[in-house]
Symmetry: C2
DNA sequence: GTGAAAGCGCTAACAG
DNA sequence: CTGTTAGCGCTTTCAC
């Protein structure tokens, strides 16, 4: 394909390239006449300013990037797609230049966060899927690149904000549902023990128990790595060691699915014998039977909020203090709880 | 953040920027000594070549783009994410520069396909979600930009290839399952009447019927726009008008879900009274009960194949003839068919 | 083997 | 209001 550059347009329109540039950048001091004429010609020859050139020569082209870390092929886990949709829609609504990138922990080791950003001229990034020990976590403490972390707390750097569900409260609410349902021996099927959300949800679980006057029994907490199969196995094992367990609070819906299957496998009735509540609000949960009770997060809103925040961070003044925003969650009571 | 440019590295290393550039571009005529030295310095100061500048000055930086058209927020529909994963993994494995973009039919009207591509310096694009009447469809007939279409036939332009499931055969296979199950009055819940895949799947449906010696009755075909709710309504209506219907072939799993619900609503037993088979192979189908029989496409493989093909198209010689590749599908018999 | 210099397409002073 | 020109950061001849 033949590239149409600003020169072609300038020549064709009989003006200088400077003028064409001004027209395309909405400079005020251009006669209405030439503006129109230039646009006409540009349209005729099919001209579109090259973004790379623009980024190079201008200091004011802003592009915000959404970056997913360690995105693995897991179709059931629809969170990333929802987040993507959210920031996409927001970027679109604000006419922001948007870019998407996928990285891995490995890549983080090969290139620093600042390098990654300067390489691609991003002015702000929305980051999802970072792990506790990723190299970028450390670098994020001192970076000057406006960043918003999704589902991960920030390290008091004013440049970086965060968007999360209030995991502690949400988890407590979920466990409260179980408690109010009359379940007495509530197990927690947690994810990875060192993930922030796991820690927070576990805190909520314990708080609910304590507040209700129950004992917290650490043998009633398993870590199934957010994996359906492992959760299935661990649930069976827990049930065997602790036959009095009559409810499971799962740190993710995917694990809840595994637990539900385990219950089916060992012949327990849900929600009569044992109650189950998940976390996330995947659509999947509404289709299984019995339908899964859960605390639904709003990943699409995460995306929108993240977009809003990154825009504030890149355009507005430096905030006085680190910004952490919660997006609301919904307790959904379906058929796995009484 | 302070940008580290090639200049810094050159100065620090005591060589010219040309040399640094050569080192980073693996030119052979560089002494091993300076090569090492330059890399060392670059590493020390945290230098990473700027991609925009690179794209501008070099004619050989290739970046392939995955573009989704009219991506709407539909978490149940996990196809796009799977495709994304597939091309991401392929691009990663081949070290291809990758970019993702979302467009809309509206945007297609504002900017031509060539403009879109030259604006962002893409050398090849993988396109998903195009509709029959989108402006780009017409422009794709004559474009010189290597393109691969997912789930859409090509218009004999050697620059553009396509990756699809063999929809006709797959649909026929699905209907054959129904026929072999002894169902006699098979309804087809199709999507939009003018989408290519709809047309193809309908063709397969008719072929299966004809081959089996059945009549094709067009009043037994509905168009539910690939929507769960609409499918639900239409199924009920079809059943009312045609009480002898004893099976539904659905052009998508999402619609099959709606049909299943409709059957539940009117008290029909599945698969005893009526059989249902879907199309797509969403994970969701495995969790509903009765579990949905379906023909599973492999969207992740679509992504990988598309990556492979776009690479051939951009690197290899122009193919003699338009390339259309099928990726295999799997007939999954679960509980909604006998 | 390596430096110097001419662009790549565009923006942003600086004149006029 | 508009033309001219100096870069932006990098690649790529062309010399030496």
């Amino acid at each position: 394909m033949k590239k149409i550059t600003i020169k072609e347009v300038a020549k064709e329109a009989g003006v200088s390239i400077g003028t064409v540039s001004r027209v395309f950048n909405d400079y005020p001091d251009i006669s209405e006449e030439t503006r129109k004429h230039v646009f006409e010609i540009a349209n005729k020859v099919g001209y579109s300013p090259n973004l790379a050139a623009r980024a190079l020569s201008s200091k004011r082209l802003k592009t915000i990037a959404l970056v997913f870390n360690d995105l693995v092929y897991q179709p059931k886990y629809t969170f990333p797609m929802s987040i993507l949709n959210g920031v996409l829609d927001y970027a679109e609504s604000q006419n922001l230049e948007f870019a998407f990138y996928a990285i891995t922990t490995q890549k983080q080791k090969e290139k620093t966060y600042e390098q990654f950003c300067s390489e691609r001229d991003v002015t702000g990034v929305i980051m999802q899927g970072l792990h506790q020990n990723d190299p970028y976590i450390e670098q994020l403490k001192t970076t000057r690149v406006p960043t918003v972390l999704i589902d991960m707390p920030v390290n008091d750097n004013q440049c970086v904000g965060s968007i999360t569900t209030d995991n502690v409260t949400a988890a407590k609410d979920a466990v409260d549902v179980l408690i109010k349902g009359g379940y007495k021996n509530i197990d927690m099927m947690n994810g990875t023990y060192d993930a922030t959300v796991s820690i927070l949800r576990e805190r909520g679980y314990k708080k609910a128990l304590t507040d209700a006057g129950f004992e917290v029994n650490s043998s009633l907490i398993q870590y199934a790595n957010y994996d359906e199969q492992i959760a299935n196995l661990m649930a069976k094992q827990a049930l065997q060691q602790n036959p009095t367990i009559d409810a499971f609070f799962c740190a993710s819906d995917i694990m809840a699915l595994g637990v539900l299957q385990a219950l089916k496998d060992v012949g327990k009735k849900v929600p009569a014998d044992v109650g189950v509540i998940g976390f996330d609000g995947l659509d999947l949960g509404a289709y299984v039977s019995p339908a899964l009770s859960t605390v639904a997060q709003q990943p699409y809103e995460f995306g929108r909020e993240a977009g809003r925040l990154i825009q504030e961070l890149t355009d507005g003044p430096q905030p006085e203090t680190t910004i952490e925003r919660h997006v609301p969650y919904n307790l959904i009571r379906r058929e796995t709880t009484r």
